[in-house]
């Protein structure tokens, strides 16, 4: 791998305390936060250095300095490791590692003329406490969300997935700012080929810094030209463990509350863990509702535009009269009318997302009710279109994944233009193009439209509906898990005759 910063001579030990002090000051450009202190005992000198606010000061005083200065013993590496009551001590002999370690809150002790320094990991990281996830909200089920801290996230994952087979492979990605990335899967479930693909993509990534897991995702996904997300992102440990337990592979990144899951299919973006927590019939209904919403959200406004512009024959007369009345005062062609309204809704959404929650609600009311009513009264748009646009905006928010919801809204614009230019022909062209596009997509090399194509009948009951539990005794065949059976279907229900 190519390094951006050339490392200087790395093995500098052993050396005099004064030399090390000088070198540290050089390297860190007289950093005022770098605390470098020399202590002396029985003609042995020790240098302790760390960055003040990165380290837990209490531990430094209570355990390190207390023992070092008050206990009477000969200072050398092995005695220090033995005497100081801190568990994380280890020896380090590369100067570049020390440089990196200081930045993530390590403390170093160097005894004069020793061959290596001792490292204590005492990092003091400021974290937000565990909170409910803001982007994905659920009514039923666990609501805790991932945080920005890797340690917390790993902790949550270990508590939610208590499998002995859980593997958390560690990668360090980023040339300038190395970040820890974890590849998480259950060894006895996840498909070997998929793990290798994922691992290879992570290993081959050469980048200066990954800003967030959503950015990492864009570097490693199959196709970057498409509008459809190919990897699932979630902030809910609950959803994460649901996927991992079904043989998928997850990734979490340091400093990012978003976890990545792959391989995914188009349909998994409409599944929510809530479907499982609900009764099966309610879950099935809600899931079908989401599919329907995606379809409506992309098709409703364009259909209106196409019908009103070119094919008013397909609208029955009573309906057409209504429509004509509401459109009579509108001076724009339908395509322009629809685009203006859609843009307005997008404006509202975007401003609502940027503003603080309380003001956001006000803006929603002002924008939605006031502007909407005024637009109709001013004769800029028709009532019917307002209903359609509002409905399709609502529909787009039903997707449990925020990325997919946004996709649904954005696709609508080219569809409106196609419908406005070529009517139904344009619309069918658009839909065909989308289907072909989805067929061509892959996620981690697995087909994106599975189980619809390639047809996997066994997965239909899990991907599209949520049948009673005894039908869920197999994992998704589309993801090719190593072990497909979850439980024995026969034993889960014993058949009885009428009067027994």
């Amino acid at each position: 791998m190519k390094r951006y910063r050339t490392t200087k001579k790395d093995n500098i030990f052993p050396l005099k305390i004064e030399e090390l002090e000088k070198k540290l000051n050089e390297e860190f450009d007289q950093n005022p936060d770098l605390s470098v202190t020399t202590y002396e005992n029985k003609n042995k000198k020790a240098l302790i250095f760390y960055i003040t606010y990165q380290v837990e000061g209490e531990k430094v005083e209570n355990y390190l300095l207390e023992t070092l200065l008050k206990k009477d013993f000969e200072w050398n590496n092995s005695t220090i490791l033995n005497e100081i009551p801190l568990s994380s001590g280890k020896t380090i002999d590369k100067f570049s590692d020390i440089g990196k370690g200081l930045l993530i809150g390590n403390l170093y002790v160097y005894i004069e003329n020793e061959n290596s320094a001792i490292e204590y990991s005492l990092s003091n990281k400021e974290n937000r406490s565990l909170q409910q996830s803001e982007t994905e909200s659920v009514v039923l089920g666990p609501k805790i969300g991932f945080t920005e801290s890797m340690v917390t996230n790993l902790n949550i994952i270990r508590w939610t997935i208590r499998s002995e087979d859980l593997v958390l492979e560690k990668f360090i990605i980023g040339e300038r700012e190395p970040r820890e990335v974890r590849l998480i899967y259950i060894k006895s479930l996840a498909n070997e080929a998929d793990i290798n693909t994922f691992r290879q993509r992570l290993q081959e990534l050469e980048i200066d810094v990954i800003d967030d897991s959503s950015v990492l995702l864009q570097y490693i996904e199959d196709s970057s030209l498409t509008i459809f997300p190919q990897f699932f992102t979630t902030e809910l440990p609950d959803r994460f463990s649901y996927d991992i337990n079904r043989g998928r592979i997850g990734v979490i990144v340091e400093n990012s509350p978003t976890a990545i899951v792959a391989p995914t299919t188009f349909f998994s973006f409409f599944q929510s863990t809530e479907d499982l927590y609900m009764r099966w019939n309610i879950g099935s209904f809600l899931r079908s509702l989401r599919f329907l919403s995606f379809f409506l959200s992309t098709i409703l406004t364009p259909l209106y535009v196409a019908a009103v512009t070119f094919h008013y024959e397909i609208i029955p007369t009573p309906l057409l009269v209504n429509l004509g009345e509401s459109r009579a005062a509108v001076p724009f062609p339908p395509i322009l009318e629809a685009l203006i309204l859609e843009l307005m809704i997008e404006l509202l959404r975007e401003s609502g997302a940027r503003l603080p929650t309380k003001i956001g609600q006000t803006i929603g009311i002002v924008g939605g009710v006031v502007v909407g009513t005024a637009a109709v009264q001013a004769g800029i748009t028709s009532n019917v279109l307002i209903i359609f646009v509002a409905l399709s905006a609502l529909a787009s928010f039903t997707a449990p994944n925020y990325l997919m919801g946004t996709t649904a809204r954005i696709i609508r614009f080219p569809m409106i233009i196609l419908g406005g230019l070529l009517g139904l022909v344009g619309l069918v062209f658009g839909i065909s193009f989308l289907i072909i596009h989805l067929l061509r997509l892959t996620s981690l090399g697995r087909p994106y439209l599975s189980p619809l194509y390639p047809l996997v009948w066994e997965d239909f009951n899990k991907a599209f509906f949520r049948l009673p539990p005894q039908f869920h005794n197999m994992r998704f065949k589309s993801y090719r898990p190593k072990d497909i059976f979850r439980f024995n279907k026969g034993k889960s229900k014993i058949k009885k005759d009428i009067d027994e």
Binding site: V428, L439, R440
Partner: protein
Amino acid sequence: MDINVKVKENLQIRPFYLFFIITSIQIGIGILGFPKIVYQEALQDSWISILFTFFYIVAVVIVMFMILNQYKNADIYGIQVDIFGKWIGKILGTIYILYFGITLFSILITYMEVVRISIFPSISNLALGGLLLCLVVYSVLGGIRVVVGVCTLFFLGTQWLFLLLIQPAMEVDFTHLQPMFVTPFPDLLEGAKVSSYTFMGFELLLVIYPFIKNKKKAKLPTFLAVSWSTITILLLTMLVIGYFSHNQILRREWALLGLFKIQNFTFIERFDYVVVTEWMLVIITNMILLMWAMTYGMKRLYNISQKTTLYLISIILLIACIFVDEHFQIQKVIDTSSQIGLWIVYVYPFFLLPIVLFKKRKQRKKEKKHAK
């Protein structure tokens, strides 16, 4: 070139997809105008003609399987080279490709005519042709897997259209089918002959066969597919004959479209608009399969990359469709393609089979001699 094709594991398709491939290519644009054509020849006994065609097709498919099974993993391009030698084999292969091309072109311009007459009188051939070919190019670029996927999904996505015929089906007058068995036999045969154009497309089996994963299971889906499309076409024809009177059928170019106008709901009527546009999906599967067969054939015969052929043919088709927009020209293209198809699809396999069998037997004898 190799006679047998080595197909990579990830490009192979499961045999049941043959059902979708064969049905999607058999049911195409022809079905819209088909009832009139066959009615002209066989009148109310058209269904007998269709059944004749069906049995003949079953025979042809059996012959095709017999030819294909003589080889390990070969397609028609390879077999012809093996039988007739390099030069004649390649010429025959090229004829196949040209035939696919003409069929593709006839489908394209017929659909454009349907759209022009029933929805958009003013739409330019260039725009519509460009859109359709754009979809074709985009999906063929995805390779065989995407091509088969488009067939499968578009097949599943268009079957609901036939539900719209329930209302007219309720109003069918069965006396239109009576008296039965009055059409003379030659007319029935003539009816079967004109039906052949609609049923064409299953010859694609000769090209796609090496890509099938489990060849032993390929027969069932193929016969199911042929039966499915026959039943569809048969029912639709009976429906048209039962619903419209003698004169009404003869006056309508696309009688089937007329049937779709009957159904209406409180929020939408004139379903013929929906059907014509939705029929685009049916057309696209046809075009994609033919285009794929052409590009693949060029690669097999002349080692030209599939992408080059794909772009080249699309541009040629696009330019050609600008000039063909009169009804008689379109009819001429259809007639030509059905004439060539009749010989290539329905007659040629029966000639090919004995030659293949003879050659293979000779080869086996030779091998036995060597073994001794």
